[in-house]
Amino acid sequence: MEKQMENGSERVVLKVEKLRIHYATPQGDVIAVSDISFNLYEGETLGLVGESGCGKSTTAYGILQLVQPPGYIVNGSIEVDGTEVLDLSEEELRKFRWTGLSLIPQGAMNSLNPTMRVKDQIIDVIESHEGKKSDKQSMRARILELFQNVGLPNRIYNMYPHELSGGMKQRVCIAMGVALHPTVVIADEATSALDVVVQRIVAQTLVKVKDEIGVSLIVIGHDMGLLAQIVDRIAVMYAGKMVEIAPVENIYAEPLHPYTRLLIDSIPSIKERKPLKITEGITHDPRNPPSGCIFRLRCPFAWEHCAEVEPEPIDAEYKHEVACHLYDERFEERRANAFATFANP
């Protein structure tokens, strides 16, 4: 496939393994992220999608070591360019932040300090990591270049956040996010607070800047349509589990996991109004997940085996993994039958 040739780097820049994050509550731990593993390749844009509360933001904040109490990382490994993030000391982690992993936050409206000029908020991150700069002129030039990359006018250099529009603030956050040329940038619903037009422009800016600087990008969102246009691969999460991760063409053309299928089938188009397909069954209590497969209570294809064994990710195709027993070679026949009935109800 063409896209794979373009973005076919095999070098893994971010390797997440068995990442597990809980939120402590008086009634027991809520399992927000449950043993997630995935790779992010150099120069790749990975979309992370799922319903609200499925753990996609928690995953991102876990990778960034920003899980806020009562959340905590139970186990796992997060390697960025060979550095194990979870083993860093506090000061090492501070230095690693923004140079290794940076964040473009959700809701940029409130993500900038209201009492600091925009430029000072970019200068402070540069100076915390590169030391005090005495050369004001070259610092100014550097920031204006960042502004130009994200399409911000020079005049906002001395402005405060409240003087900018929502789209501009989001661009400031993008400029800030790439200021130190980090290895991986994580954009957490960076566009969801904006209207559709600005959303698209900002998303394109994000991709453009990412390509220019050559970082790897994780985009978290729930707008499958927007994500389809900007990402190389999509990872689908359900209730703290990653159920499928696939190149974006595959996931729309031929989704494998039953949840992904239902999700894609529920995307409304302009020609046809579609009912939401994922309505059957009940959502489980996140403190007591069901045995076996996490999706079996709502899955139209579930059988006894799903309750007994938890599905491991199966390599279906190149860079395409799915965690479903139907793709186990032993159950090939069952899969054919199941999808036949599903296609013609």
Binding site: K95, P114, T115, V125, Y160
Partner: protein
């Protein structure tokens, strides 16, 4: 940015002068609502003391004429206002030849000094303690010690003052119990020695104000800091890998201090109340003691004058805080348009 708009300045000044005018008017009206008049009362008092005053009616009439009390009320009011504008607060009745302006002029600097220094201390100490209470990186020991030092917060300033005088002026007499300076000095002078003496005398009164006040500011600040900690920009600050101390003062304290400044402006009136009592306990020769004696001697002229001056200084302090607000909060000047 940073500069405030002219509109903002004008509005604040208007509020300031409106406050003064309302205060002056109330001070003018209230004594006139009371039955009788001060001169009759004074002559009656003289009569009691002397047994008999010859031509009491004539004396009363003469003084009424002298003070213009026979004129229509609006003439009196206008004369009173023009007097105020020229800094004329009238006479003290109990110490008659002295004018109120003279007495206030002697007392006000002491109170301003005491309150100013005390405010500076309790505001900075209180906010710092509050910030440290909320900050995640504060040593545990500090977090335990700060609340313990706040036990005075629930005690009225009067009692705290008495306790402090008793402990540090009497039981362990390391500080003077009373007065603003030693009476070895005949009058205030501009020497280092005198200045040191003033600080020495001012320590206990200032401490009693600070001790009862800083806890409120610490608690308020702590609450604000916790709110700020939940802001989105704090997560970004953490993600940016900024130095913890920089985040504390530039991201947290800088934003949490803004409502504290507003609270300070609002609380200045209450603060003055507390200071009056503290001054009386320490026989500190400031406005508090002056008001106290004026009340005791039923010196209406002095009561009116000192009340007006206290209201003026409070309003001035609020004005200064209001005007400095656009300089510390960049969002204010725009909203003021």
């Amino acid at each position: 940015m940073g500069a405030f708009s002219l509109n903002y300045l004008v509005r604040r000044l208007l509020v300031f002068f409106l406050t003064l005018w309302v205060a002056a008017t109330l001070i003018f009206i209230i004594p006139r609502l009371a039955p009788g008049d001060p001169i009759t009362a004074m002559v009656a008092r003289l009569t009691q003391q002397a047994g008999f005053v010859e031509n009491a009616d004539l004396i009363i009439e003469g003084w009424r004429e002298r003070f213009g009390l026979n004129d229509p009320v609006y003439v009196q009011y206008l004369r009173y206002l023009t007097g105020l504008l020229q800094g004329d607060l009238g006479y003290s009745l109990a110490r008659f030849p002295s004018t109120v302006s003279e007495l206030v002029g002697r007392a006000l600097p002491w109170t301003l000094g005491l309150v100013g220094v005390a405010t500076l201390i309790f505001f900075s100490v209180g906010n710092l303690c509050g910030a440290l209470l909320a900050w995640g990186k504060t040593p545990r020991l500090v977090k335990v010690m700060i609340p313990m030092s706040m036990i005075f917060t629930s005690i009225p300033p009067l009692l705290a003052g008495l306790l402090i005088v008793y402990v540090f002026g009497f039981l362990i007499p390391i500080f003077p119990q009373a007065y603003a300076y030693d009476y070895n000095f005949a009058r205030p002078e501009l020497t280092l020695e005198f200045f040191a003496n003033v600080l020495y005398h001012g320590f206990l009164p200032a401490m009693s104000i600070v001790l009862v006040t800083f806890g409120y500011w610490a608690l308020g600040m702590r609450g604000m800091m916790i709110t700020i900690e939940g802001e989105d920009y704090m997560i970004l600050a953490q993600a940016k890998g900024l130095k913890p101390f920089y985040v504390l003062y530039r991201y947290m304290i800088r934003n949490a201090i803004l409502p504290q400044m507003t609270a300070l402006a609002v609380s200045i009136g209450t603060l003055v109340n507390g200071v009056v009592l503290v001054e009386v306990i320490f026989s500190y020769n400031g406005m508090g003691t002056l008001i106290f004696t004026a009340l005791r001697e039923q010196d209406f002229g002095l009561i009116q004058g000192t009340s007006f001056i206290l209201i003026t200084t409070s309003a001035l302090a609020v004005l200064i805080i209001d005007l400095s607000y656009p300089l510390i909060d960049p969002r204010i000047s725009l909203e003021g348009r």
